[in-house]
């Protein structure tokens, strides 16, 4: 038996079956990131609230979803909920599980970003007459984004690979499709190498997007790297 089959390797690399699996992985990642970001923002804002009725549920949510494996959450959502009459198809269960899990992690990242905006700026904005919604829109969120984007990028990179866990509830994403072909043709090494190449291509593409995002949110700060011109009043102070 040969160790490596080049023909098989190239066949799988160009396989539409595997490619469509990668598209499913991509779809799961994009959806869970977007839904997780929206839900994570809500949870982060709730957690920062002074009202216990808001902050305690947010804490509980983060504690629960960060404290249990995604695998367990997916199995409970997919096989546990039908016992209570809630029947979900595989894709819906996978999307819900990934989004809920991602939201818990993103909530902590977003909270840290919101906390990083100095209270002095918030007080100044209130004194200027801005209302809380306007402060969030014009002051807090634009500055928080700069703090949020780097760890968010890490989280998305992780999520891209974590989507493979949905294969246990038979979600036909990239890894599951590779496994299916392995069972048919037994070319384990070739198939998983192709799978790895697909994941690498997707994470590399994300790296590029993330760099652009970071540049975008850092735009207001980029010119600060240039040295501040010697302040004329410093001269006056010395000579007077």
């Amino acid at each position: 038996m040969q160790i490596w089959n080049w023909h098989g390797f190239f066949m799988y690399l160009g396989s539409g079956f595997i490619f469509r699996g990668a598209l499913v992985t991509l779809m799961l990642t994009v959806f869970a990131t977007c839904a997780g970001f929206v839900l994570g923002t809500v949870v982060a804002v709730m957690k920062r609230s002074r009202h216990k009725g808001l902050s305690l549920p947010a804490r509980f949510y983060i504690w629960l979803f960060r404290g249990t494996p995604l695998l367990v959450q997916l199995i409970i959502i997919y096989t546990g909920l039908p016992k209570f009459g809630i029947r979900l198809d595989v894709t819906t269960a996978a999307l819900i599980g990934l989004s809920l899990n991602e939201a818990a992690y993103l909530a902590e990242i977003i909270r840290a970003g919101l906390d990083a905006v100095s209270p002095g700026q918030i007080a100044a904005a209130r004194a200027l007459g801005l209302e809380e919604g306007q402060i969030a829109r014009y002051i807090t969120f634009p500055q928080a984004l700069r703090i949020i984007v780097p760890p968010l990028g890490n989280s998305v990179n992780g999520l891209l690979k974590t989507t493979s866990i949905t294969s246990v509830i038979s979600m036909e994403e990239l890894l599951r499709r590779a496994q299916l072909l392995v069972q048919e043709h037994f070319m384990v090494l070739e198939l998983f190498t192709v799978t790895a190449i697909y994941y690498l291509a997707m994470t590399s593409a994300w790296d590029m997007i993330q760099r652009r995002l970071e540049n975008y949110v850092n735009r207001p700060y980029q010119r600060t790297a240039t040295p501040v011109l010697l302040e004329p009043e410093a001269n006056i102070a010395v000579t007077s």
Partner: protein, 244 residues
């Protein structure tokens, strides 16, 4: 009836009482300087007045009417008549000087940008910051940030200008220029309440000096009327001047 009246004003941070019942009358166009040791409640007086720190007792009246800090409309009304310069400046680091200055007039005041630009250039000229409108606060020195903080407050055309250490980062020549500006504003009817540790500014600028101690007013003096300050105030000012 005075223009602005503090009546038994009390405030606390959490369980820590800061103001323990302050009574103070301020007239329109007056320049009042709050002095006193750290923690005596000077900055809290300003924060309470603009509704950043809630009153825990007493009331503040503006033109005879109690200020309503409890409702959004009340807060909006009082803040539309005041502006505050913060000790830490509170400039928005992600916005340019121009955006810092125009944010409140456009977003809160709903004014058009084009006429505001002319006003902005005038205010930047008054604070000797012309030509800096495209920079962001992290690119400015401490003294420049302070003057932008003053400029931002002036863009609001406040009736009452609250300033917490407005000259702390400035050199003597700029302090003189800013004091001159504050004097002119007061002459136009703007009421100025400032917290300051600069006793030269306090002595030359103030219509009234208010010495605070442990959340209460310990003494007041009117340096423009009396030759000699109140004894307690004179002692405090001498000690501050000695430290400086």
């Amino acid at each position: 009836m005075s223009y602005l009246e503090f009546r038994n004003v009390q405030a606390s941070y959490g369980t820590n009482p800061i103001l323990l019942g302050v009574d103070l009358d301020i007239e329109k166009g007056e320049i009042v300087s709050l002095i006193g040791p750290s923690g005596s409640g000077k900055s809290t007086m300003l924060r309470v007045l603009i509704g950043l720190t809630p009153l825990s007792g007493g009331e503040i009246r503006l033109e005879g009417k109690p200020i309503d800090y409890a409702t959004k409309a009340g807060l909006r009304a009082v803040r539309s008549r005041m502006a505050m310069v913060f000790q830490s400046f509170g400039l928005f680091d992600h916005l340019t000087v121009e955006q810092n200055l125009l944010l409140a007039p456009t977003v809160v005041g709903k004014k058009k940008r084009a006429p505001l630009l002319e006003e902005m250039h005038e205010v930047l000229r008054l604070t000797d910051m012309q030509g800096h409108d495209g920079k962001r606060p992290p690119q400015l020195s401490g003294g420049q940030k302070q003057r932008i903080a003053i400029a931002r407050a002036l863009m609001l055309h406040p009736e009452i200008l609250l300033m917490d250490e407005p000259t702390s980062a400035l050199d003597p020549i700029r302090i003189a220029a800013m004091s001159d500006l504050f004097g002119k504003l007061a002459a136009q009817g703007v009421t100025i309440i400032q917290v300051s540790h600069n006793m030269d500014v306090v002595r030359s600028l103030s219509d009234r000096i208010v010495l605070m101690h442990d959340g209460r007013i310990a003494a007041t003096a009117s340096p423009k009327r009396d030759q000699d300050d109140n004894a307690a105030i004179a002692r405090f000012m001498a000690a501050e001047a000695h430290q400086a």
